[in-house]
Subunit: 159 residues, 3 copies
C-alpha cells in the first residue's frame, strides 16, 4: 500500500522540507493524539509562490489561489511530519481553516479552499474527510494570498 | 425532561435538516469526545435568510445579524447531530467562533454573537456555557453576513 | 522554583484580575486536559490600553500593537486561571491565534504576534512553545486593535 508521501507524489506534488523553526513559535504542536499546525502560507523555498501566492484574491485570481491553497496545505503536512516523524499514522483530518486575503466583493473563499480539500481527499481517501471554515480576511502576513491551518488526529499507538 | 430538540422548539425554533454533504468537506467531524463543525452560514432551505443573512453588517443591520447568528447556530447543531445521531449527549459547548462580515467602522461583532450565545444558554442551560471569539472579517463565502463554528464535547459513553 | 505568576512578575508584568463574567459566554472553558480561552482584547481595568489597544494597526503602530498583544495574552492567562485555579500545571501552550485589526497594506501581523509569543517563552520556557496563526481582520469588537485566543494543555493529574 502506498505511503502518504507516495500518494502525494502520485498526485503530482512533493512534500516540502518542514517550515524553518521560526524561533518564537513552532510549525506544529502535538497535544494528546491531536496535532495543531501553525497558520501556513503558500511559500515554496521561502518565497510566496507565483502566481497566486501573493496579494489579495479576486474572481480573476481564484484559480491561482486554488493552487496556492495546495502549496500551503503541503507546508502544513510537512509541519505535522516535523513533529510526528510520519504522515502514515494520521487517523483523520479533523479541521481545515483557510483565511483568504480578499478583495472587496470577492465571496468565493470556499472555491479557493476546494484546492486544499480536494487534495486532502486524493491523498488521504476516507481519512481525508474534514470539517472546514473558509473566511475572507483583510490582510495577511507578508501580503500572502492565504493562510491555512490544520488539526489532525493521529492513531493513539503512535503518540 | 425535555430533549434538546424539544428545547429548541420551546425556544421558538426548529432544528433544520443537516447541511447537505458538501462533497469536499464534512458538516462536522468527531475526534475523541469532541466534535468540530465546519463554518456554518445563515442558510435556510439553501438560501441566505432575509433579512440579515446576506451582505456586510453595520450598526443598522446588527439586530438582523443577531437573528442570523441563531440560524447559523441551528445549522451547526444540525451538523453535529448528523455525525452523532443526537444532541442529548452533549456534555458542554466548548467554543463558538463567529466571523462577521463587517462594514468599515462596525465594531459590535460581540453583540451579533450574543444571538447565538443566548440561544445556546436557553437550549443547553449550564452545559451551554462556552468560550467565544467574535471577529469582523472582510468577506465571506456567498456574501454571507456571518459564519459560525462550534466545538462541542460529548459524554464519553456516547462516542 | 518560581511559580508562573512569579515569572510573570519577573518579566515586568502582572497577572490581571480575570475578565469579568460576561454573562453570555465564559472567559475560558476546560475540556478534558485542554482549556480554550475566549478571544481576549487588550483591556486593562476595563479600558483598551493606550497606546496600541484601540483602532486599526499599521506600520507606524506595530510596536504599540506588539505591546498590546502582551496585554491580551495576560488576560488570556487570567481567564485560564479563573477556570483552573493555577497556571503552574500548564503542560504546554498548544495554540495561539491572533486577529489583528489591520489597515490596508499592513502585512506584519506576525511581528505583532511576536509580542505575545516572546512573552510566552519568557514565562513558560520550553512549555511555552506553541503553534500560531496571525491574521489581519477588518474590524474587532469595541474597535480593539487585536483579539487573542489560546488553547493550552494541562497536566492530566490536575484536571
Amino acid at each position: 500500500m502506498a505511503t502518504i508521501e507516495e500518494k502525494i507524489i502520485n498526485a503530482g506534488f512533493a512534500l516540502p522540507q518542514p517550515p524553518a523553526a521560526a524561533g518564537l513559535y513552532s510549525p506544529a504542536i502535538r497535544s494528546g493524539n491531536l496535532v495543531f499546525t501553525s497558520g501556513q502560507l503558500p511559500l515554496r523555498d521561502g518565497q510566496l509562490v507565483e502566481p497566486g501566492g501573493k496579494g489579495k484574491v479576486n474572481d480573476l485570481r481564484k484559480d491561482d489561489a486554488f493552487h496556492a491553497s495546495r502549496v500551503a496545505l503541503l507546508n502544513a503536512l510537512a509541519a505535522i511530519k516535523s513533529v510526528t516523524g510520519t504522515l502514515d499514522s494520521i487517523e483523520r483530518i479533523v479541521k481545515l481553516t483557510l483565511y483568504v486575503s480578499s478583495e472587496t466583493c470577492f465571496s468565493s473563499q470556499h472555491l479557493v479552499a476546494n484546492g486544499a480539500s480536494s487534495l486532502l481527499h486524493e491523498i488521504f481517501g476516507e481519512r481525508g474527510a474534514h470539517a472546514r471554515s473558509a473566511v475572507g480576511v483583510a490582510e495577511l502576513p507578508l501580503d500572502a494570498s492565504l493562510e491555512l491551518e490544520l488539526i489532525v488526529q493521529f492513531k493513539p499507538t503512535i503518540l
